[in-house]
């Protein structure tokens, strides 16, 4: 006991011990840029949400929770947030399951794996702006391609004002989002599948398991951690969706496709920094709560079972 206690002290007293600066110097440039241009503004946003501050007036005045009081009583805030949740609900089901099935299909085939993976991932490489404009043209009521295609294949009854109909607009933007995001889930699932030992699948084949049984009893349980990651990724993208909606509908018609980031952007455009930072902070809390809560839940479930 005494020995183990005294040993480090002895070392501390020895001339060889000094604070090693190298590790800090290696990190320093990254920390400086990260803190100034990323973390700092986030923390500032949190603190400034308690002040009257409109980006233009030099003075700031502490006003406590007044901005939060406004935001939380603003129907349009809840409207926007609910649309994020609709987006999230759809996003964890549709692009994720599309990604899963396509990954499984690619895994099952022998030839052309690389081709299908590359082709199906292609939309995911584009900027939100490009995706939005491609879909803006697809949805175009007069020169667009979707309505004529529907008529061509005998689904003329489904032709639609895709972005102008308030009941449809949010879902139209979701389709564009899905087109651009299922590829991510797919490649991650595929990498996960390739990590699963082939022995398990061989054993299943010997036992005569069919496709459905393999999927539900082997693939999905084996991809437990991959699912956690893929869904967490969807939480971030669905709660922070901006570019696609900004260009396709601008949040309209009549707030029918409004989401938090558009709401915040509109507030910044109106110099309402107090409301903008308060709304952004609420959204941050929601996202952090959702993502860490989800990860912790998954860890707890995998640990308890």
């Amino acid at each position: 006991m005494a020995q183990s206690f005294s040993a480090p002290r002895k070392r501390a007293a020895s001339p060889r011990f000094r604070i090693d600066l190298m590790p800090y110097l290696f990190i320093l440039p990254a920390v400086v840029i990260y803190v100034i241009f990323n973390l700092g503004p986030v923390l500032a946003s949190f603190f400034l949400s308690f002040f009257r501050w409109d980006l233009l007036s030099p003075t700031t005045e502490f006003i406590g929770f007044k901005h939060y009081n406004f935001i939380l009583n603003d129907d349009r805030f809840w409207n926007a947030l609910s649309h994020n949740f609709i987006f999230l609900g759809l996003a964890v089901v549709i692009p994720v399951s599309m990604g899963l099935f396509l990954a499984v299909f690619i895994y099952e085939i022998r030839k052309g794996r690389v081709f299908f993976r590359a082709a199906l991932f292609l939309p995911a490489i584009f900027s939100g702006v490009v995706i939005a404009y491609v879909w803006k043209w697809i949805y175009h009521p007069f020169a667009g391609v979707l309505n004529p295609t529907l008529e061509l294949v005998g689904l003329g009854a489904f032709t639609q004002s895709w972005l102008g109909n308030p009941k449809i607009a949010l879902y139209s933007t979701f389709i564009a989002y899905t087109w651009a995001s299922f590829g991510y889930s797919m490649v991650i699932f595929l990498a996960g599948l390739q990590d699963i030992s082939t022995d398990i699948f061989d054993a299943a084949r010997v036992d005569g398991a069919n496709f459905r049984q393999k999927l539900f009893y082997i693939t999905i349980p084996c991809l437990y951690d991959v699912f956690t990651f893929v869904i967490t990724l969807r939480i971030f993208t669905a709660m922070g969706v901006f570019g696609v909606i900004y260009i396709l509908t601008g949040g309209g018609p009549f707030y029918a496709s409004d989401v938090i980031d558009i709401y915040v952007f509109r507030m910044i455009g109106n110099y309402e920094m107090g409301w903008a930072t308060a709304a952004a902070t609420v959204n941050t809390v929601v996202v952090v709560f959702l993502s860490t809560g989800f990860i912790k839940y998954r860890e707890w479930r995998s640990w308890s079972s």
């Binding site: 490489i125 490009v130 991650i188």
Partner: protein, 280 residues
Amino acid sequence: MEFLNRSARRRLQGAPFYILLIFATVITLVPIIWVFASALKSNKEIRENPLALPGEWRFQNYLDAWFGASFDAYFFNSIFITVTSVALVLILSSLAAYSFAKMRFRGNQLLFFIFLFGMAFPLSAKLGPLLSLMYELNLANSRFGLILVYVAGSLPFAILMLRAFFQGFPQELEDSAALDGCSRFQFYLRILLPLSKPSLMALGIFVFMGTWNEFFQALLLINEDSKRTLPLGLTAFQDEYFTDFALSFAGINITAVPVIIVYIMFQRNLIEGITVGSLK
């Protein structure tokens, strides 16, 4: 005979998957092909028959967009901003990740957690103060300011990914290098970086895509037309020339083609970057 039968059976088993995959691929690629085809049509053709292929191939549309709508300037801005950002991210994140992965020091865990925290919040959380800060520092409406914002935004993921990769390096490698009189910086420069080339490549491509495509922060920070990046230029272009359908399509393609080229060249690296970063 037996062999043939088995292979035929196997081929038949795979057939539904192929059919489904081909179907999915067609649906995925048709919008892209359609946009490319439309960029070669005249306005009249696009209006009157949006589904048809171009009658005559009008490459003039691309020239008009490139020279007439300053897409040349947007393109070079995007190249400059993206390449500089990628280089800075690779340098800064590999230095930091080496330190996090291989060195012991007080606050290692805490500092790393601070970086991780950067991945947890949505973009809108920093916009207001960031805008104000950039004006204070005289960095608003500047390409260099935008680069710093992009680098700061990419660092958390880059450090996370490289740290995981560097942790996989055997300690013996560093120990024997130290025995040979190699300092830690030399080890980083001469051994660690060359050995990490595939990872750095994957990360670089991933950051390239993210930076090339970024829109929200550029929209907020860049005012001047001559400093716009391609995605931002595309929005301005649409405001001005929306009724010129063919030019719009050409503009979309000019923005998309560089990423497609990079994607075709480095497809494996990019997907590796996404999956390695995610599965570790």
